[in-house]
């Protein structure tokens, strides 16, 4: 119990430090003023979401190979946590775009790819609700998760190429947009703080899933008896 509280406090402090850095340490951007600082939240969330989905991918592979329920628990936890961070990206996109460009949405490579990514993992979670038998649910979602993740580079690659054909308003931090070295440092620190948050959320969600699974097993055993 104490460990959990300490961990949560540590993460909270890290996030606070990252926020401070975003506002006070990173230099001002000449063209965009204050709003550009949302980039640190936006890009760090994107990277963290991808990290979570990568963990999901590894968990999926391990489940198919080993068939141990804990890999299924890790997979669904990582997918949900990844989806949460990905949602942050999709929400901060318009928040950034509107003051800068006057439009709510830009089909920039990151935003577009992130949207598809978001849809892929929403479908992953929906698939789980549509397969009742737990072992099959775990196997099918693991297999779909594997297909989805290997699709990710293809999605990002194809959309980036498409962007080259149809230039779109660019969110800061897109490849090639160029940033001050201090901004990079703040960005990486923000990412580090987000990864700490991700780990915390993963652990909680995993424990919840383990309990839920035990409950399901007990319910079935009761029904049988």
């Amino acid at each position: 119990m104490m460990k959990n509280v300490l961990a949560a406090v540590a993460v909270f402090l890290l996030l606070g430090a990252a926020a401070y850095a975003s506002f006070f340490i990173a230099p001002t951007d000449a063209k965009q003023g204050l709003i550009y600082r949302i980039l640190f939240l936006h890009v760090a969330s994107a990277w963290t979401g991808l990290t979570a989905f990568f963990i999901c991918f590894i968990a999926n592979l391990l489940y198919v190979w080993r068939r141990q329920p804990r890999w299924d628990w890790l997979g669904v936890s990582a997918a949900e946590v990844g989806l949460a961070f990905t949602t942050v990206v999709l929400v901060t996109g318009p928040i950034w775009a509107h003051p800068v460009w006057g439009i709510w949405w830009t089909w920039s490579p990151r935003l577009t790819s992130t949207f598809v990514l978001w849809l892929l993992y929403v479908v992953y979670l929906m698939l789980r609700t549509l397969v009742e038998e737990p072992d099959r649910r775990a196997l099918f979602s693991a297999l779909f998760g594997i297909f989805a993740f290997i699709d990710v580079p293809l999605v990002f690659g194809s959309i980036r190429w498409w962007r080259d054909q149809h230039p779109q308003p660019v969110v800061m931090g897109e490849p090639g947009s160029g940033m001050d070295p201090i901004m990079y440092k703040v960005l990486f620190f923000s990412w580090f703080a987000m990864l700490a948050l991700m780990t915390l959320l993963l652990r909680q969600r995993y424990k919840l899933e383990a309990m839920r699974s035990d409950l399901e097993t007990m319910q079935h055993e009761l029904e049988e008896a």
Binding site: E133, D135, E216, T217, H220, E221, E223, E224
Partner: protein
């Protein structure tokens, strides 16, 4: 591809467990079937008979435990075996004719001289005249005969049958009993699930009762045939 040389093969279930979610269909079932035995499995619906057979057919992957085949009664060298399997369902395409179905599976199995083999089997099961009819038009009894023909295409050493007499009229049952007797006499190992006593159950050299996924009685360990086959439905 030439078919394997036929010699008797036994099978062995070791601690086979199969769970579907919280439901244990098979609970650590261990069973050794000697080459040439004809084993009858009885049990209520839901006792695990179908699962046991499907595990033996390698259609169902057990949650734990191993299944092996060998030509020695106990722990012989393992061989790759393709059992013949007859299930509840026809396992044939409604939209193809009897002949097309059998040819399809014969070719997939790599049966030598597939056309001749199919011809022979159609004759053996008494469907030569209906060879060019779509399986969709077949009665239950005729479908069962297609299923049996399909199971025998590659001359398997091991035959697995899941309640094969279901839906057959008395003539059909008599025919099936005769066919199984011939197969058993030729040395094939047979594992079949049945619902009760019949002409077919009398072919068994051994009987086992499954109850909620476990072996509750075995003629090998003293139970009588009759008691196993005429259990009362609780």
């Amino acid at each position: 591809m030439t078919p394997l040389e036929f010699f008797p093969i036994g099978l062995r279930f070791e601690n086979i467990e199969k769970r579907y979610g919280g439901l244990l269909a098979l609970r650590r079932v261990s069973l050794a079937i000697a080459p040439g035995e004809c084993v009858v499995v009885a049990g209520r619906n839901g006792s695990g008979k179908t699962t046991l057979l499907r595990v033996a057919a390698r259609l169902v992957r057990p949650s734990s435990g191993t299944l092996s085949f060998s030509s020695q009664p106990n722990n012989g060298e393992e061989i790759a075996v393709r059992p013949g399997f007859v299930a509840h369902a026809t396992m044939a395409y409604d939209e193809l004719t009897a002949e097309e179905n059998l040819l399809l599976f014969a070719r997939l199995l790599g049966v030598a001289q597939a056309e001749n083999r199919v011809e022979t089997l159609l004759h053996e099961v008494g469907l030569s005249e209906r060879r060019a009819s779509l399986v969709r038009t077949f009665s239950r009894g005729m479908r069962q005969r297609v299923a049996i023909a399909r199971a025998l295409l590659h001359e398997p050493s091991v035959l697995l049958l899941d309640e094969p007499a279901t839906g057959l009229d008395p003539q059909g049952v008599a025919w099936l009993a005769a066919a199984l007797r011939r197969l058993h006499d030729s040395g094939r190992t047979i594992l079949m699930s049945l619902h009760g006593e019949s002409e077919i159950s009398s072919l068994g050299t051994r009987a086992i009762r499954l109850d909620a996924g476990s072996i509750a009685a075995d003629t090998r360990t003293g139970a009588t045939f009759r008691s196993i086959l005429t259990f009362a439905d609780a």
